[in-house]
């Protein structure tokens, strides 16, 4: 295998050298970067904007989860295998920076190459991951999780509807679904029970939430695992309300369903994802260019229109009409909603175990 690799590399080198050496031919060879991020942030319609503007081809590897992305980084060889990665900011802060100075797994960004990173909405400027004056990760998009529900079956104006409790109330037993995810489902249940800071719960509180979930388990039709599955459940009427994502709402509305999301009074789960470049990325220059493009207004506007995810660039928010800002939710930062940042719990191991106990009960 080593020999084959050597042959491949030497052939490539010869080829490139030959092309570069031909006089009169200035050949801007398009480079490819290896990236790991949720495919949804670079849909086919939006891809040309980034690839065209930077002349870089982006090969995004099969995406598994934000947690897995961080795990890929910390695995042996992780810092040199990928050029560009995106994951939930609160999940990666610790691993990215490492325990001490000098143990960072990400490359300190050359801020001159990413001018757009300075033009973020004020809320997200604090979210930039920095250490000792150097920038390591820049938030590029954000969103919120809430309850997606069918307005024809569940009244919008009710206090119950505008709360996580709607997923746990016996009134809608058998017509609701949670996500099969320890982190998000336990957080939602904790908020429904009234815990203000779910990710800082101690063992006793976690135990209470577990008991609550076990008691309410019979109310759930199922726990969805995939995007398409969740959307399908709403559109076929299998359930009337579920823990859901912004993109799901967008898809269902486009399909003509009278579906919307609620704004839970007990706390809207609010997250953002940041991009970074692993420490030993082989194509750092190109990765910088891509990062810059994804902080830009053109990309941001296109992404919001296509998927309804929101971006951190201040220019995008400013470029939208007030009606659009409300429609997509850029104004939730001003609406005085109870925003609960999605964070890594103190003891994820216990959360996973707790969820296992809920399902096994």
């Amino acid at each position: 295998m080593k020999r084959r690799g050597f042959l491949k590399h030497s052939t490539q080198a010869l080829g490139a050298a030959a092309l570069a050496g031909i006089p009169g031919m200035s050949f801007a060879q398009q480079k490819t970067i290896t990236a790991v991020f949720a495919g949804v942030i670079l849909p086919d319609k939006v891809r040309p904007i980034v690839e065209g503007g930077t002349n870089v081809r982006i090969n995004n590897l099969p995406y598994v989860s934000p947690t897995d992305t961080v795990a890929k980084l910390t695995a042996p060889g992780g810092t040199s295998r990928y050029d560009f990665m995106v994951s939930v900011t609160n999940f990666m802060r610790g691993p990215l920076l490492g325990e001490r100075d000098g143990q960072e797994l990400a490359m300190a960004l050359d801020t001159s190459k990413v001018p757009n990173a300075a033009k973020l909405l004020p809320l997200f400027q604090d979210q930039i991951i920095r250490r000792a004056g150097k920038t390591y990760a820049v938030p590029i998009f954000w969103g919120y999780d809430s309850v997606i529900y069918n307005r024809k079956k569940i009244p919008e104006e009710a206090a119950l509807t505008q709360s996580w409790k709607v997923l746990f109330d016996d009134k809608y037993a058998g017509r609701v679904a949670l996500r099969d995810d320890a982190h998000q489902s336990i957080a939602a249940a904790a908020l429904a029970m009234g815990h203000k800071k779910p990710f800082e719960m101690d063992r006793k509180d976690l135990g209470d939430v577990t008991k609550f979930l076990i008691a309410k388990k019979k109310n759930f039709r199922t726990l969805w695992t995939q995007f398409g599955e969740a959307v399908n459940m709403m559109s076929s009427g299998e359930v009337d309300a579920m823990y859901g994502w912004i993109v799901m709402r967008a898809v269902l509305q486009r399909r003509g369903m009278d579906v919307t999301n609620n704004w839970p009074s007990d706390g809207l789960l609010f997250w953002n994802q940041a991009a970074f470049i692993p420490k030993n990325a082989p194509n750092a220059n190109e990765a910088h260019a891509v990062l810059n493009a994804m902080c830009g207004v053109e990309y941001g506007t296109a992404l919001t229109r296509e998927t309804e995810y929101l971006v951190t660039s201040a220019g995008t928010a400013a470029a939208l009409s007030p009606a659009d800002r409300t429609k997509y939710g850029y104004d939730i930062l001003e609406r005085g909603l109870n925003l609960v940042p999605l964070a890594w719990p103190k003891d994820m191991d216990s959360w996973i175990e707790a969820w296992g106990r809920v399902k096994a009960a």
Binding site: V64, S65, T67, D68, V70, A71, T74, A75, G94, P95, G98, E99, G174, D180, D181, A182, H183, K217, K218, F220, R221, T222, L223, T225, Q226, G228, E229, N232, S236, G237, E238, W344, M348, D349, I352, E353, W355, G356, R357, K359, A360, A361
Partner: protein
């Protein structure tokens, strides 16, 4: 005429060495690595080779893991039995066919397995769901006036999903085994007045035992590690041991604990195979009763 008089062709270690080499490098090494990793410590900063027994201590103190292990073994065993009962007649059926029909049906058995399992497991949702095909048909026929809830999202659906996906693994080795049986044996038995049940129990089953064993081992091992099927079809209680393992890697970065769970599973399965091996004849079939 004794077995020992004629040696089969070829030198055993020469024949087996390519496979042995492959297995040592790519099979055993990863297993050893998994066991080694199970003693390491995983934090949010990554996995470090700091030797500790915590991952195993946790499995012993928290009853969840033992419960799930037993549940997985139970579901896998039941699925294997169901698959065996469902598949044996089909394997026999295939041996009764001749010529073109035989090939057609065998290919026909394979074809569903060339659609990805992603598709093959998800397809049950629009069939069994409240708004699915079965409910729609029954409603239209007037047999029911409310959709049936219990077609999906329970343990029964898990069995359906597993057996459906793994039938090929059971039919194929049994068919290959049965196909070699001399039909004159059966004719002779019938002439002597044997009832069908006797033919099955005393001729077919013993002679096709290697195939039955192979099929059962495959389906059982696959069932014990299942995690997509229970999660998708099993509803809020659809959890098996494999899900806990998957969670460690996909929702958490506790690789060391995941490796420990995997090592426990591997150990239990190996012990199971060793213990039942002698009883159901794995040793005799594969190793001739010696070594």
């Amino acid at each position: 005429m004794s077995d020992a008089a004629v040696k089969p062709i070829g030198k055993p270690w020469l024949l087996a060495s390519p496979a042995v080499l492959w297995l040592l490098v790519f099979g055993l090494a990863p297993l050893v690595f998994m066991v080694a990793m199970s003693f390491w410590k995983s934090t949010i900063f990554g996995t470090r080779p700091d030797f500790q027994l915590g991952n195993y201590a946790r499995q012993l103190t928290e009853p969840l893991y033992g419960t799930l292990l037993l549940k997985s073994l139970r579901i896998a065993a039941v699925s294997t039995l169901i698959a065996l009962v469902v598949s044996y007649p089909i394997a026999y059926f295939l041996t009764r066919l001749r010529g073109l029909w035989k090939s057609v049906f065998i290919i026909g058995l394979f074809m569903p397995f060339w659609t990805s399992y992603v598709v093959r497991t998800f397809v049950w949702l629009p069939i069994l769901g409240r708004a699915g095909a079965i409910n729609a048909t029954l409603l239209w026929l007037g047999v029911i006036d409310q959709p049936i809830d219990w077609l999906i999202y329970n343990e029964g659906t898990i069995y359906l999903g597993l057996v459906y996906v793994y039938t090929l693994f059971m039919v194929l080795p049994i068919y290959l085994s049965l196909d070699r049986i001399d039909p004159r044996l059966i004719e002779a038995a019938v002439d002597l007045g044997a009832r069908p049940w006797s033919v099955l129990w005393r001729i077919l089953l013993p002679l096709s035992w290697p195939g039955v064993l192979s099929g059962c081992i495959m389906v059982f091992l696959l069932g014990v590690g299942a995690y997509v099927t229970p999660r998708l079809l099993g509803g809020p209680s659809g959890i098996m041991y494999g899900n806990m393992i998957a969670d460690q890697f996909l929702n958490n970065n506790n690789w060391a604990f995941g490796a420990a769970l995997g090592s426990t599973l591997a150990l239990v399965v190996v012990i199971l195979l060793l213990v039942t091996g002698r009883w159901i004849g794995i040793r005799q079939v594969f190793t001739g009763g010696r070594f």
